[in-house]
């Protein structure tokens, strides 16, 4: 199995508004490897959310391929796409989109409904996830009684429920204040580094994007040539993705296991 989790080939999305056609995404080629934390930046209307919808099986491209875990999902019938959304993809939304009548624990457990996991396994996994996002103490609270940052943490835990191949985050800090933004980005970074979670995050905030391992720029539906390496990790959270031992931000190789750091 290759190291590539997600790949697009000549991806194109055209919207027709009357006789007028708008190229939301044009000839886009992207490769995301396992464990990557990719930030896609771009101004409003550049096609960021459209791209995320195409990658997340929420929308169909006009042309091109989206290969997720070696499967071209553009060729998967509409009725079978739910399996990819359930097991391969975890979504994080700007507005959190938690179900208001369910508690934090119930929201996190929701994607596991209908899986082969037993009830106790599901509950155990839910507790683990809430522990990871630091919300064990607030697990019985319903969204209206949680702060915005806490709601987004629950949403992240929910996205991780079925251990997906990739997390797709659409402006995950768009509704948060600076302090909470920092906490959420640090959480995503931590997940990428310690859990090896592959993340594609769309944002228009360069400060947020700079925390990702890779920064891509989208303009008028096309990826620009320039690509930047982000800080990848936030100070104080630096650990090797391979051996999980502490590292420094300027290390290119892990001083403990000797493996290359991306």
């Amino acid at each position: 199995m290759s190291n590539v989790v997600l790949e697009t080939e000549n991806l194109e999305k055209v919207y027709a508004i009357g006789r007028r056609k708008i190229n939301a995404i044009s000839d886009l080629n992207l490769r995301v490897n396992k464990g990557d934390f990719v930030a896609i930046m771009g101004p409003s209307g550049s096609g960021k959310t459209t791209l995320l919808n195409l990658l997340g099986c929420l929308d169909r491209p006009t042309n091109g391929k989206v290969i997720l875990d070696d499967v071209d999902i553009t060729r998967v019938p509409e009725k079978a796409l739910w399996k990819f959304r359930k097991y391969k993809i975890g979504f994080i939304f700007q507005t959190f989109n938690l179900l208001p009548y369910l508690s934090a624990i119930e929201n996190v457990e929701l994607p596991m409904e209908g899986t082969k996991k037993s009830k106790s396994e599901r509950r155990k996994r839910t507790h683990e996830l809430l522990e990871i996002v630091g919300l064990s103490a607030r697990k019985e609270h319903k969204p209206p009684r949680l702060s915005a940052g806490e709601q987004q943490r629950v949403a992240i835990a929910r996205a991780l429920a079925n251990n997906p191949s990739i997390l797709l985050a659409d402006e995950p800090t768009g509704n948060l204040d600076v302090k909470t933004t920092f906490e959420i980005v640090r959480l995503l970074s931590k997940l990428s580094l310690t859990q090896g979670t592959t993340i594609v995050m769309v944002t228009h905030d360069s400060n947020v994007a700079s925390r990702a391992g890779r920064m891509l720029f989208l303009s008028d539906g096309k990826l620009l040539d320039r690509e930047k390496k982000g800080m990848h990790l936030l100070k104080g959270d630096l650990t090797c993705p391979h051996c999980h031992k502490p590292i420094q931000s300027d290390h290119t190789f892990c001083p403990r296991c000797g493996k290359k750091l991306e």
């Binding site: 919808n53 959304r85 989109n97 009548y101 929701l110 209908g114």
Partner: protein, 452 residues
């Protein structure tokens, strides 16, 4: 955390809306239960009319056969009309002046060849009257009528033994016997009316009589020695009716003609007259039956329409409620699909909510229907009422429908009806939510997530 728990939370989180929908659905359910119960009650009522008809005709036939050698002579025309009536109670609203036959007529008739026995009766109304309100299709009015009727009987043992001149169904105490005077027997109805029992005394006109027996009858009557009646009503030497028994049935017509010729002021009734009366009664019964059957079929037609309306209303209420819910929760549908819910998962969620509403409303409606079936069915269905024939001019006093009907027409839904209505209701809940659920399932997750 399953789909059912989510359905319960969703149904319960909008309490006022859910409450109103459940009330509306409950009424539909109550109608679905009450109407079949009403139909069954009407069918039972019609059945009781038929049974009553058969019993009355049979007893009248037997009575006529037993009295083939009897010629009745009465001072009033109505006596003849009412021959064979079990009660002898005047029909309310018919006031008449009491006229009498002088006892000397007995001696004159007894000289006619072929006459075997002459049994005199004196029937008078009580002094006390009661006011009763009558309800008719043309309105209500109040009438005054005697509380009871007094029948004076000639207490000769040969008459008592041979002609059944006294009530035969004494349920307490004893019957009258030859020579009794100053004592009475009363009907059960009168006993209940005055709370007078065997051994008690009852004032009749100016005198007080001891009650020695009570006989079973729905009419309010008193039987006593004819001489006592003549004395207290100051009708010495008067009778109101003569039962003339002849030697053989072949003499009846001849003797009746002689009596009619000699006493044109009296009304003479023979076996043939009573048969004719029976035929009139039969005709009246048949008309009543036709009316009852027609009402039953009308009821069924009306019931079918009303149940259809209830079914359509139930489906529409669930349909619009669920359509509104789906629209309101579009974004939630988008989220569910984005996190991996299949179309079937989403669809079943909404169908489950529709069924849950139906289960709650079905339960409430079943309770409402069980308790309110008599009221609901009386509001929505025409009832089988044989007395409606009264307005067409038929005398119904010979037919005692009332008791039979009041006992038989009890509108209570049976368990099978409840179960069937509940099952239909659940099915309607599922069908009503099918289209909204299907719409929810085919919603594009991307568009749903954009919905505000």
């Amino acid at each position: 955390m399953g789909a059912l728990t989510r359905a319960v939370r969703n149904v319960s989180r909008r309490k006022i809306r859910t409450f109103l929908v459940i009330i509306a659905l409950s009424f539909s359910m109550a109608i679905m239960i009450s109407i079949p119960a009403g139909i069954m009650a009407n069918q039972k009522a019609a059945q009781s009319i038929i049974e009553n008809y058969n019993n009355t005709i049979t007893s009248m036939q037997e009575e006529i056969n037993k009295t083939s050698t009897l010629i009745e002579i009465s001072a009033s025309s109505r006596r003849g009309m009412f021959s064979g009536t079990p009660s002898g109670m005047p029909f309310p609203g018919f006031e008449q002046e009491e006229t009498f036959i002088n006892a000397t007529v007995v001696d004159e008739i007894s000289t006619i060849e072929g006459v075997k026995d002459i049994v005199p009766f004196l029937e008078v109304s009580s002094e006390e009257t009661t006011e009763e309100t009558m309800s008719t299709p043309r309105g209500s009015f109040t009438i005054s009528r005697p509380v009871y009727t007094i029948t004076g009987v000639c207490l000769k043992s040969t008459f008592i033994d041979e002609y059944s001149i006294l009530p035969t169904n004494v349920i307490d105490g004893r019957n009258l016997t030859e020579g009794d005077s100053g004592i009475i027997i009363i009907s059960l109805n009168l006993s209940d009316y005055y709370s007078v029992y065997v051994g008690d005394k009852l004032k009749v006109y100016s005198e007080t009589f001891k009650v020695v027996g009570i006989y079973n009858s729905t009419a309010r009557t008193v039987h006593m020695n004819i001489t006592d009646v003549q004395r207290i009503t100051e009708n010495m030497g008067n009778v109101s009716r003569l039962d003339v028994y002849v030697e053989d049935i072949s003499y009846v017509d001849g003797i009746a003609e002689v009596i009619e010729a000699a006493y044109p002021e009296f009304y003479v009734t023979t076996y043939e007259d009573r048969l004719a009366n029976l035929e009139r009664t039969q005709e009246m019964y048949e008309t009543t039956l036709e009316n009852a059957e027609s009402t039953v079929s009308q009821t069924q037609a009306v019931a079918f329409q009303e149940i259809l309306v209830a079914i359509v209303a139930t489906s529409l209420i669930v349909l619009f409620m669920m359509l509104y819910t789906v629209r309101e929760r579009t974004k939630e549908i988008g989220v569910l699909k984005a996190i991996g819910f299949s179309n079937w998962n989403v669809m079943s969620q909404f169908i489950l909510e529709g069924i849950l509403l139906s289960v709650i409303a079905g339960g409430v409606g079943a309770l409402m229907g069980t308790i309110g079936a008599p009221v609901i069915s009386s509001l929505l269905l025409p009832s089988v009422n044989p007395f409606s024939t009264h307005q067409s001019g038929f005398p119904t006093q010979n037919i005692n429908f009332g008791t039979a009907l009041s006992q038989s027409v009890t509108v209570t839904p049976d368990p099978q009806t409840l179960l069937l209505a509940f099952s239909v209701f659940l099915l309607l809940g599922a069908l009503g939510s099918l289209y909204p659920a299907w719409r929810a399932a085919r919603t594009s997750p991307m568009e749903a997530l954009r919905y505000e």
